[in-house]
Amino acid sequence: MNHDFTAAVKSTTTGAVLEFAGELDADTAPEALEVVQRVKLTHGQQLVVNLAGLTFCDSSGISTLIAARNLAVAAAAGIALVAVPQQLARSLALIGLNGFFPVFPTLEEADEAWAALPED
């Protein structure tokens, strides 16, 4: 059991920011998923997932990220991962998901990239 996991979500002018910190695994994924389900997005917004404080992420954690993406796609919104730890980047590559999530080093860069996209 990892008690040092935290999940939080806050609304922003451009959408929402999800923050996962600590160890995201089979024990903590249900808590993360609950927070994901509280995310409110509308058409044209972006969900940014800040992983700067993430120390570990296993297959259950990756399922949670896919759930967040499914939620964004269903709302016709975008999704971006920020500050992806190396271990997670490696896991994503192993399961063929490199390039599947847009990835940015910082929140600002994720916002700028989103703002630069043409309106549809």
Binding site: A26, D58, S60, A74, L94, I95
Partner: protein, 398 residues
Amino acid sequence: MCEARDFAALLEDSAEDLYDHAPCGYLSTLLDGVIVKVNATLLGWLGYERDDLVGKRRFAELLTVGGRIYHETHFAPLLRMQGELGGVALELVGADGSRLPVLVTSTVKTGADGAAQLIRTTIFDARDRRAYEQELLHARREADRERDRVQRLTRTLQRSLLPSVLPEVPGMEVAAYYHPASIDQVGGDFYDLFPLAGGTWGFFLGDVSGKGSEAAVVTSLTRYTLRAAAVYDPDPIAVLRHLNTVLNQEYHGTDPRYCTVIHGSLVPDADGFTVTLATGGHPPALLIQADGTAAFLDAPGGQLVGALPDPRFTSVDHHLGPGETLLLYTDGLTEARVKGRTRHTEDQLREFVGTLGPTTAPALISALAGLLAGFGDGVDDDTALLALSIPHAGVDRP
């Protein structure tokens, strides 16, 4: 002034009264244990008159047989050595034979010359405490039984997700290994090897996301879908597509579940088998050549199965010839948390296997089982291994 004197008189009086009617038992004995003084509280608990005990009985005679032995072999010698002994749990036997659990504390009183004179003993009623301990013991036994039941159930369920024995494949040696990370939880790793039409075979090995009973449901669905799909169309990529459709229909939205899997087909020929491997986001198979060289048999770009509506699967063909061994593994082996967070990578696995020299399926599996055992508690994910090898010509060929 007058009140104070009355109060002092009350205290004066109560010294003797406190001794006799204190909320604990008091007992004084000579060094040989003969009772010389006892308070009313203890007499009341035991149902004796003062004359029954004083000058007639030894303290040890108030104990149960077991207590008497303990008193003789431990209590009395320790008391003599240390001069005091506290909080010893014993049972006293009352006049009517009833037992009273107590906590006993004794001190040796010495005279001005330092010689031991008598033993003072305080006795606390421990019935409540004993009842509490019995409750605890009962609850613990109940919890132990419950845990055993869960572990039995887990083992049974786990067995239903793995083949009990691998079939014998003519012209091939096969070996498999399964290491559960937890005896309380069903793991998400699976493998199988099974015959298909015309002497061909199908096999797979994979890992379902998550743990526990919900993962077990996905594992079960995956295993049976793969076997059925391979009968319908043995092409490994077609088999993975079929599995993806089934899983993606069942698990999507905010409950995505997926597996990573390698599915393969085996077509026999004159000196071995043509192996086709399709990968769905799974770490690459390891090929150990006849000279012992280890290399990945990779089909890069394959994506996980079940989470995406239209994933990409890739395949690779290889002719598995005499002396060659193919190893499929789950990430319990490569992701083992060795010494905290340091991880064993695929490359380290390849290097380890490369040190073994020429090998066979059974020898490789036994070497890797040894490696896993060395990880000890570092393995926090379950691990499945499946190895296939072709014996050298003239060896074991029917």
